[in-house]
Symmetry: C2
Subunit: 150 residues, 2 copies
């Protein structure tokens, strides 16, 4: 992965696969206490009694972890100036304590702004996969990127 | 808001407005360190030099806070068994330290499952608003809810 990429340095179809992060019971409960206090994210016993038959991570936790894994690669460090939003966020399978997730981010579209010559949208599809090769999440981020160093 | 609601107790068009949460610089930086380590979420100086002219919250932080505010009402406590996903997540305006957000969640659609008689989808549009009445975020959650106590 080259350093200091800008919008026009990406190619449609190009993809990036991240290192992994192992999800612990402690992190699942800590996130849920702050952001998603539902019993099956907080309480091992309630998780066992739920349709998931065990504690599972909040989907908002999973999306944040998978996004972080890609940001952590540094690919967008020089060029990212935010995002207008995310499309088609899908939670495909439960994430459980002990799972190790990796993320693949693939370029779907590159769209220079028609009004602001210094920027544009990089549309990327993220897929998070666990240690068994099961896809647990997918989502599309519309990244707002600079086209050159300002 | 009545207690122990199930899917069929909701009405299309019905809405719920939450209490507020004030967003601090410390929480913005803490979340960004874990889940979105981009300079304009982590570093006050880098924020000032960014197009936002100051530190702003990660969009994944804002969505988690707004979701939490609605979960915290307890409306879904008896009936929520998860979610297959989110549509049309839009970050509409920056969230800055000191902002106080509230969330309005409105029922768009109620769709009993055709295959599993005990459950269905409640499609809800969330809108997060700051102390000035500016909408900062909107998103649609497809909530998977029980139709009755099991």
């Amino acid at each position: 992965m080259s350093k200091n990429r800008f919008l026009d340095d990406f190619l449609v179809g190009e993809s990036f696969t991240t290192k992994g992060i192992t999800i612990t019971e402690g992190e699942i409960i800590h996130f849920a206490m702050q952001y998603d206090p539902q019993p099956f994210h907080l309480d091992v016993t309630a998780g066992l009694e739920s349709p998931y038959k065990g504690l599972i991570a909040s989907g908002f936790h999973t999306v944040a972890i998978c996004f972080r894994m890609f940001i952590q690669t540094g690919v967008l460090l020089a060029c990212s100036i935010g995002s207008p939003g995310v499309d088609e966020l899908r939670w495909l399978a439960p994430v459980r304590p002990g799972d190790t997730l990796k993320t693949k981010a693939k370029v779907l579209e590159i769209r220079p702004s028609s009004s602001k010559p210094n920027r544009g949208i990089l549309r990327m599809k993220y897929v998070g996969t666990n240690q068994n090769g099961t896809n647990v999440i997918s989502f599309i981020v519309n990244h707002l990127l600079l086209r050159y160093k300002e």
